[in-house]
Amino acid sequence: MERGCVYMGKILVVDLQEGRCQEEDLSEEQIEEHVGGVALNLALYERFRERDPVIVGTGLLTGTFAPASCAGVVTARSPVTGGICHVPLLWQTAVELKYSGYDFVVLLGESARPVRLWLHDSLAELADAGDVWGKDVWETTDKLRFEHGDDYVQVLGIGPAGERQSLLGQLSENYWGSRDLYGLGALWGKKKLKALAARGLGSLEVAEGFFDACVALKDEIASGRIRGSQGLVPILRHLGADAGGLNTLEARAHRNVASFNCPYPYNTFLMIDEDASLLKESAKAEPGLLLTDPAGVASLLFLGDGMAQVLRRINRYGLEPSACGVLLAARGAGSAAQAEGALADFVREGCSLEGEGARHVRGVAPWPLSDSPESRLVQAVSLFSHALPPQPALGSFEDFSVPESPQERARWWLERQAVSLVLGVCPLSALLSPELSLERMADLASKACQWEDLTPEMLRNKAWEVIGRSASLAGTSGKLPASWAGPEFEASLQGLLQAP
C-alpha cells in the first residue's frame, strides 16, 4: 500500500494575481520527506516564499477514522507578528478540503478584485466574489452554501474586519470563528480572497487493521481523562476562568458538539434568544451561537450575560475574540450595548492591539487565564495558536508525564502542537487526552498506510524541524511585554527552540 493512500494526491496552486489554478501531484517523495500537515505546509511556504503565500493543508490522518482526525493547518506570515504562524483548523474544513480532492492549497500573490475559491470533486473554480464581498461571515457562509446547494459546504473565509485589513481580522471556519490570533483575516483581505469553500464526495483508502486500532484508541480515550466531562465549561473551569461568568454561560448552554471524530465534544452551543432547555428545533433563524475558542470566551466572560451576544457580533464581523476582549476591557465597555458599539471601530483598517496601546504579546492577545512561566514561553514563540490552552486542558502536566521545569513544559506543548498538526490530529484533543500520546499517534499513522518506519522518534524530529525552521524563517518584529523581558527569559526562549 502506498503512503499516499490517505491523501487524495493533489496540491492546488492558486495564483491570485493571474487568476489561475494549477494542480500538482502530491508525490510519495514529498510524503516520505515531510509526512504532511504543517511540515509540508512549511516546505510549500519556503518554495513560494517570494509570493507571500498562504498554505492551507491537511495532515496524514485528517479525515480518516483516527480519533480527533479533524485538523488542518494554515501557514502564512502573520501581518501581526511579522513571523511565520501555523493556525489550526479544528472543525470540518480540513476534512472537507481533503475529501474535495485537494490535500494542500497554495494561495499566491494578490488578486486585483475580490475573488472566492470553490473546490469540489478535484475541481477548482476561482470566481468573482462580488456576491459576497461586503457581507459578514454568517451572510457569506449562508450565501455560499445556498449558491453551491449544500449545507455541508465548509467555508473558510473573512468578514468585514478581514476585508478592511484590520489586524484583528480573523479567518473563520463557517460561522464560528477559528483559533487564528495572527490576523490572517487581514492577509486574506489584502489578497482580496473572501473565502475558500469546499465540499467533498471523495473517499480515502486505509490499510487493514487501521480501523480496529482507531476504535481501540477511541475507547481508551473515552474511558480516560475526559470521562464524565463534556463541553467548553469544564475546560474553562479547570483552567481557572471566572466562576460567575461560567455559571452564566452554563445556564445558557444548550448542547455540546464534537469536531469531526473528536472523542471530547469541546464546542458548546449557547442559546441567546431561545430557551436553553428547548429540545425541539428552534423556530428562530439564529437562536444562539457555538463557542469554539477557549481563549476568546475566557477573554469576554467579564461581560457576564451579554458575552454571547457580543461574541455573536464578533463572529459576524470576523474579528478575533481574545483581542476584542482585551480592547473592550481596556475601554471599560462593561455592557453588551457598549461593547457592540465599540466593535464596529475594531473593524477599521489597520486596527491592532499595539496601535490601541492595549496589552499584547508580539501584537497578539495574551492567553487570558494564567501567567505561568511556561505559558509566557509558549506565547513568546508565537508559532502555534495559544487560543488553545498553553497547558493540559483538563488534567495536569503530571498526567502527561511532563517534567516540572517551565522550559520542559513549554517544549512539551510546542511538540504536541507540531506533531498534531503534522498528522492532522486535533491539537486541543491532544491537550485533553494523555491517551493520545506521541507513540499512539505514530502507531496510528504507521498503520493507516503501512509505513513501518514512521516512528515516534521520526515524528518528534519532524516536529522540532518545523519549529526550528519556522522560527528562523522570518523573525518576528512584535514586542514582548516589558515585564517579561530580561536576559533570563531570552536565554530560556533561545534554549526552548533548540531541538531536544
Binding site: 469540489h120 470533486d121 475541481l123 473554480e125 453551491h148 446547494g149 449544500d150 459546504v153 464526495l201
Partner: protein, 410 residues
C-alpha cells in the same frame, strides 16, 4: 460464443414512465462488457427496436409506459420477439407484458400469468402507506415488503441452479406458477434488511414459494421477467444471474446480430473545453443532488412516488463515467453532441437550483420536480449514448470479477 455476446445490441427504455432504475442496468451491462447500448424513448421506440437484439425495461410507472408506447409500441415489441429478440423486464418491466383487461395495459398481453399481490380487501399498511398499494380497478396491487428478499434459483438454471441469493424488491410482482411461464427463481425468505409494509403473515402469503423470476418463449424470441431488481448495483450475485441469463438465451437462440463488433465507426469524442465545462457542471449538480437527497420530500409523478433521493442516481451515472472520458484530439471538429450536452446539463442544474430555492422557502415544487426528472433523464440518456459511442471499452476480467462480488457489494 464470446464474439456473439459482444455483438449484442441493447436498447434501454428511458422514456415516459421509466424511473431511475434503468441506470442500474447500464452499470450492469457495462460491468459485464456489453457496450452496444442505445437509449429508447417512446417516440423512437418502434423505429429503433428492429435494430436491437435485447430490450431492457426496468422500474417505473407501468401504466405510463404502456400509455406512452401505445399499440404501435406493442406491435413493434411483438415483431421484435417474433424475430428472436430478448426482452428483459424488471419490476414495472415485469408487470407490463402480463395479461390485463385494462387500458392501456391490454395492448401488451404477452404472458398469461397471474400476480399474487392483487387483492380486493386492502390490509392495513404498517409502513410507507404511499408505497404499500396501488389501485387497480376495484382491487389493489399490494407490496407487503421492500428492500432485500431471498430468492432460490430453479435447479435448471445454469451456474446458479438451486442457489439462494439476496436481491432487492421495490414493488415488483410475485407470480403464480403456471404452464405459461418457466420459473427461474422463487421467493424463499426475508432477511434482516427486509422492510415490512404489512404484517409478516400477509408478506409470507404473498411472496413465499411464488415465482420471482421467469421466462417465456414468444416466437423466436424470449421474455425474461424479474420481480426483484436483480440489476441493482448493490447486489452483484443478482447481476451475475442476469449476465448468465443473457448468455443462456444466446446459447439457445439461433438469432445472431448481423452487425460488426463495436468500435468500427465511432464519432469523435468531446473537446477538452466541453469536457472540462461538463465536469464542472455535473460535479456541481452532484453536490446539490446529494444535498437534496437529505430532504424529506417526495413528489407523485403519474402513479409513481419520486423521493428527492432519486435525483442523484442520474447525476452519478454521468459523473462516474465523465472521469474516464478522454477529450478528442485538437485536429478533430467538435461534434454536435458536446454543446448540446453542456446546455442540457446547465438546464438541469438551473432547475435543481430553483427547486432547492423553493424548498428552502417552503414553496410547492411539484412542477419543478416533474420538469427536473424529465430533463435529467434525457440528459443522462443523451450523455450515456455519447459515452457508449465514444469511449466505452471492454471491461477487464479483473473489473468484472470485482463487480461480481469478490470485493463485496459495490
Amino acid at each position: 460464443m464470446e464474439e456473439r455476446v459482444r455483438r449484442l445490441r441493447f436498447g434501454i427504455y428511458v422514456g415516459e414512465g421509466a424511473s431511475h432504475s434503468w441506470t442500474w442496468f447500464v452499470d450492469l451491462l457495462e460491468r459485464y462488457a456489453y457496450h452496444r447500448l442505445r437509449f429508447l424513448r417512446a417516440e423512437d421506440f418502434a423505429d429503433v427496436l428492429p435494430s436491437l437484439d435485447v430490450l431492457v425495461l426496468s422500474g417505473g410507472d407501468t401504466f405510463a409506459v404502456a400509455r406512452a408506447l401505445g399499440s404501435s409500441g406493442a406491435e413493434a415489441l411483438s415483431a421484435f420477439l417474433e424475430r428472436g429478440g430478448l426482452y428483459i423486464g424488471s419490476c414495472a418491466g415485469a408487470y407490463l407484458p402480463l395479461h390485463s383487461s385494462k387500458e392501456p395495459l391490454k395492448a401488451f398481453n404477452f404472458v398469461r400469468a397471474k400476480i399474487n399481490n392483487l387483492t380486493r380487501d386492502l390490509p392495513p399498511a404498517r409502513d410507507l402507506p404511499l408505497k404499500f398499494s396501488t389501485p387497480y380497478g376495484c382491487s389493489y396491487v399490494i407490496h407487503p415488503v421492500r428492500e432485500e428478499v431471498r430468492v432460490r434459483m430453479a435447479e435448471e438454471f445454469p451456474e446458479w441452479g438451486g442457489r439462494e441469493l439476496g436481491v432487492p424488491l421495490y414493488g415488483g410482482p410475485p407470480l403464480v406458477l403456471s404452464e405459461e411461464i418457466t420459473p427461474a427463481a422463487f421467493y424463499s425468505g426475508f432477511t434482516q434488511r427486509t422492510r415490512f409494509l404489512a404484517d409478516l403473515e400477509i408478506a409470507e402469503g404473498v411472496y413465499l414459494g411464488k415465482v420471482a423470476a421467469c421466462e417465456r418463449t414468444i416466437g423466436a424470441g424470449r421474455m425474461i421477467l424479474l420481480g426483484p431488481h436483480f440489476e441493482h448495483p448493490g447486489f452483484p450475485e443478482g447481476n451475475a444471474v442476469v449476465d448468465a441469463w443473457i448468455r443462456w438465451h444466446l446459447a439457445r437462440s439461433l438469432w445472431d446480430s448481423p452487425c460488426s463488433a463495436p468500435g468500427a465507426s465511432r464519432p469523435p469524442a468531446l473537446s477538452q473545453k466541453t469536457l472540462e465545462a461538463l465536469k464542472l457542471e455535473v460535479s456541481n449538480m452532484r453536490i446539490r443532488a446529494w444535498a437534496l437527497a437529505r430532504e424529506s420530500v417526495y413528489w407523485k409523478i403519474g402513479a409513481k412516488i419520486y423521493e428527492a433521493e432519486k435525483i442523484h442516481p442520474f447525476v452519478d451515472a454521468v459523473w462516474s463515467r465523465l472521469a474516464s472520458m478522454k477529450a478528442r484530439g485538437e485536429e478533430q471538429e467538435e461534434p454536435d453532441a458536446g454543446p448540446a450536452l453542456l446546455e442540457a446539463a446547465r438546464r438541469c442544474h438551473a432547475i435543481m437550483r430553483d427547486l432547492s430555492g423553493r424548498l428552502r422557502e417552503g414553496l410547492d415544487t411539484q412542477d419543478l420536480a416533474e420538469l427536473l426528472f424529465r430533463h435529467l433523464k434525457d440528459f443522462t440518456a443523451d450523455f450515456l449514448e455519447a459515452y457508449f459511442q465514444n469511449v466505452a471499452r471492454p471491461a477487464s476480467a479483473r473489473e468484472i470479477r470485482h463487480a461480481g462480488g469478490v470485493c463485496g457489494r459495490a
